[in-house]
């Protein structure tokens, strides 16, 4: 029990951020029109590519070949997620814009 409380205390700031971010995430997108569901999903998909930062950190402190190789792959995959995600979203939204101007 003591350890659980200690864990909470040691990580109180992170837990704070997590809980508030949950509400923020819900609040931010709760009034989105149906046509934007897919681009929004795609945009959010790109944002979780932020995991690439973790990959950079791991690779930045890798001390053996296996970690180097896995880290390299992780950075490549994470970057794919970020770049591909944002570009795909932009292309989807471009379509919306094009039709707007024609209107």
């Amino acid at each position: 029990m003591d350890d659980a409380l200690r864990f909470f205390y040691d990580n109180r700031e992170a837990i704070f951020i997590i809980i508030l971010s949950i509400f923020l995430g819900i609040e931010v997108i709760s009034h989105v029109p149906a046509v934007l569901h897919t681009p929004l999903m795609s945009g959010a998909n790109a944002i979780h590519g932020v995991v690439v930062i973790g990959a950079i950190i791991v690779m930045g402190h890798a001390d053996n070949i296996l970690a180097m190789v896995l880290g390299f792959i992780a950075v490549v995959l994470g970057t794919l997620n970020v770049v591909g995600g944002f570009v795909v979203t932009d292309r989807m939204l471009e379509m919306f814009k094009k039709r707007k101007t024609k209107n």
Binding site: I29, V32, H37, G43, N45, N81, R91, K102, N103
Partner: protein, 471 residues
């Protein structure tokens, strides 16, 4: 420890988080959506650059910089090219693919961090500590997200079929219990286990991702992708927790929670529950298969259809998933042009969830250069239905099902639909009498006003265009 560099790094993370939030906010309004995407991308760039420049662990800067830059370069070039080259119709697949990459990235991070769990932590209570738990959760969710996304990708690309047996449901449940049991098992170990246990755990999570997505229908993949998307967000957040990294934490959680809400919104637009989608069986066995013994279906010949359309004044095309599958949007536009040149007023009736992906039809038809003015929303299409001569239903089913209006027993009762049956004539283009994704009977097909044009949407459309040209 305080240093000006760490301070700057943390500031960049705050700024990145703010940009993520504002980006998401802007993404949910049509006028600002494109900007929102750029803002979020800006936040990401900022966080990545400052991490490389200023991140320190135990006083050591990020090393292996050359290799990191090479990896970033490869990822950027490949991601950019793939995203730019892919056809508009294949967008959902791409989202799924990139989502899987993120999941794999999170899983790999956990895999590499596991050997680094500090010995002093293990000395206290064995493996029972927050760090182990965080790593295992990141590994599990990331792996499930990766393999699940790959299956979803394959399904959308028509490379993988569905497995629909009730057995899968129990199998999956058992699998999930096994994974949770393994987490508990590892947590209760007195000292750090051999890596083989971790690899085994990761392998099981990968298999679970596959069996989780396999029974879910191909048409429901967008919902699944949205769900897996929020999974990856959570996996990224576990990574953020591990490194005490605020950018990863807020970014991941934001996506996790907004992704979950988005998934629920998507389900709502289809008048279904998330559980219903995941279980994958849409009451196909019991509901709505009451009495179709004495009902008859009338077919229409190509020449009749051609004549009917050519001499109409007002035609409404209702596209659905079948149009997307058959890639018939360009032919649809050709038919539209042909009829318009004959003085027929052609419009498109777009159901909000036609194609089982919100906005799917808008994107498809825009790709075929159908002018925006021709697309009418469901409500407006319904208002004009009485004065419409012919409704052509191309590969849509549930979104034109009258049961949603008049059969309280139907699973889709209450879902707003396009009331095709109120027009003077209906032509349904369909491959067979098979049921739609909801697996329920569609009485529109037996409606006295309706006639069926059987065949693949693309082939039928081609023949129909040729027939009209020959008139």
């Amino acid at each position: 420890m305080f240093s000006s560099q760490i301070s700057i790094l943390e500031m960049s993370y705050i700024l990145a988080s703010v940009l993520f939030v504002l980006g998401l906010k802007k993404l949910s309004h049509p006028a600002t959506a494109r900007n929102g995407n750029l803002w979020a991308a800006g936040g990401m760039l900022l966080a990545i650059i400052f991490t490389i420049l200023f991140h320190k662990k135990d006083g050591a800067h990020i090393g292996n910089i050359h290799w990191i830059l090479v990896a970033l370069f490869i990822g950027t070039v490949v991601g950019w090219l793939v995203a730019k080259k892919v056809k508009m119709t294949a967008m959902p697949q791409m989202v799924s693919l990139f989502n899987g990459m993120g999941g794999a990235c999170a899983a790999l991070i956990s895999l590499m961090e596991f050997p680094h769990i500090p010995a002093e932590l293990i000395g206290r209570h064995g493996m029972l500590n927050g760090e182990t738990f965080t790593i295992l959760m990141g590994l599990m969710i990331g792996s499930v997200s990766f393999s699940g996304s790959m299956i979803a990708f394959g399904k959308l690309d028509d490379k993988i079929g569905d497995i629909k047996t009730k057995l899968m449901r129990y199998f999956n449940l058992a699998f999930l219990v096994l994974l949770v049991a393994m987490i508990v098992f590892i947590l209760l170990m007195p000292e750090k286990p051999e890596m083989i246990w971790i690899y085994l755990f990761a392998a099981l999570a990968l298999v679970y991702g596959i069996t989780f997505v396999m029974p879910i229908g191909g048409a429901d993949m967008p919902v699944v992708i949205s769900l897996l998307n929020s999974f990856t967000g959570v996996a990224a957040a576990f990574g953020g927790f591990l490194y005490n990294n605020q950018a990863m934490l807020t970014g991941g959680i934001l996506v996790g929670s907004s992704g979950t809400i988005l998934t629920i919104l998507m389900c709502k637009a289809m008048n279904r529950s998330l559980l219903n989608v995941i279980i994958g069986a849409f009451g196909g066995s019991t509901a709505g298969v009451s009495d179709n013994g004495d009902k008859t279906v009338k077919e229409i010949s190509l020449s009749d259809a051609a004549v009917l359309l050519s001499y109409s004044q007002k035609v409404l095309i209702v596209p659905g998933y079948g149009l997307a599958v058959a890639q018939a949007q360009h032919l649809c536009h050709e038919l539209d042009d042909l009829l318009t040149s004959k003085g027929v007023e052609v419009k498109y009736g777009i159901h909000p969830v036609a194609g089982r992906m919100p906005g799917h039809m808008n994107v498809l038809l825009a790709e075929a250069d159908v002018p925006y003015e021709k697309l009418t929303e469901m409500e407006d299409a319904n208002k004009e239905m009485n004065s419409t001569d012919v409704v052509i239903v191309v590969g849509a089913n549930d979104v034109v099902n009258p049961a949603a209006e008049d059969d309280p027993a139907s699973p889709i009762y209450g879902m707003p639909v396009i009331k095709a049956w109120e027009a003077k004539n209906v032509i349904v283009m369909k491959r067979s009498m098979a049921k739609g994704y909801a697996a329920i009977e569609n009485n529109l097909f037996y409606h006295p006003k309706n006639r069926m044009l059987f065949g693949d949407a693309k082939a039928s459309m081609q023949k129909l265009i040729a027939e009209i040209k020959n008139l």
